[in-house]
Symmetry: C2
Subunit: 140 residues, 2 copies
Amino acid sequence: MVISARVHYACLAMLELSLRSDDVSPVAIREITDRHNIPGPFLVQILRTLRTAGWVQSVRGSHGGYRLSVDPSQLTLLDIIEAIGCQETAARATPSTQLDELLSEQWEEAAAASRRVLAETRLSDLLERCRHGDASMFYI
Amino acid sequence: MVISARVHYACLAMLELSLRSDDVSPVAIREITDRHNIPGPFLVQILRTLRTAGWVQSVRGSHGGYRLSVDPSQLTLLDIIEAIGCQETAARATPSTQLDELLSEQWEEAAAASRRVLAETRLSDLLERCRHGDASMFYI
DNA sequence: ATCATACTTGACTATCTTGATCATGTTTGT
DNA sequence: ACAAACATGATCAAGATAGTCAAGTATGAT
């Protein structure tokens, strides 16, 4: 599973906006990039995509910024990955041999397995873990 | 899961050599590329890697070619992927925030899930399925 | 010996994706 | 009017991927 920086940043931004969804004023890009070490102009691009997806709203002008516009429990990591749209490599030519086909099916199985994991993790799950101490206790 | 053409070709070559492991004479590159539509010089590169891994032997000169030198039941798709060495993207900087860390853990979970699938599929499994009719019957 | 076949090796190229930047414009609060 | 902050589109550099090429070496057949 190769997760691009773009997707990683997108998730961080969504999580950060979730954390501050009770704030009165919107969150400026600058505040997010400062906290998470994300290159500013890059995050601009990413937020544009997130806005297109309908998950954040922007407020222009002085004291503007971004605000979450969905429920974090309704959004999974897979949703974000798909919205950011990691250029999926063009599908290979129609399998010519049976071995070819069998093999391609295995690649698909493997991909499905990781998608399953990603589809099971909602933003709210991560926020929960973040609040209740370090999650690494579950893995180490 | 993005499987590179290189890995796909490598697996096809290994499978093809497995199918013909009872042949007296080694299998020429040309025979593999013809059957599976693989660009010739590209497969040369790939076979070099497979030889380095110790999974195939080459026979030079006229009537030369390649021969399998491992038991297909001892080799998984993951083995091949790792041998071909899909340039893993350099690890991200040490997670700076807790959210960053939680997120990275999820990417790792997803990757592990697909690796698990790939580590469970041996070359012999695919050969088996190939012999016993179309495998897609298990999925459709 | 010579020739054709087939592997060996290393360098090389084109194209695409990713990560990132920049310039310019627009909106809004004070 | 001015500054803060988002909007948009173009552009760029590095790296990976897919694939090619040329020159060399080993071997069997004639």
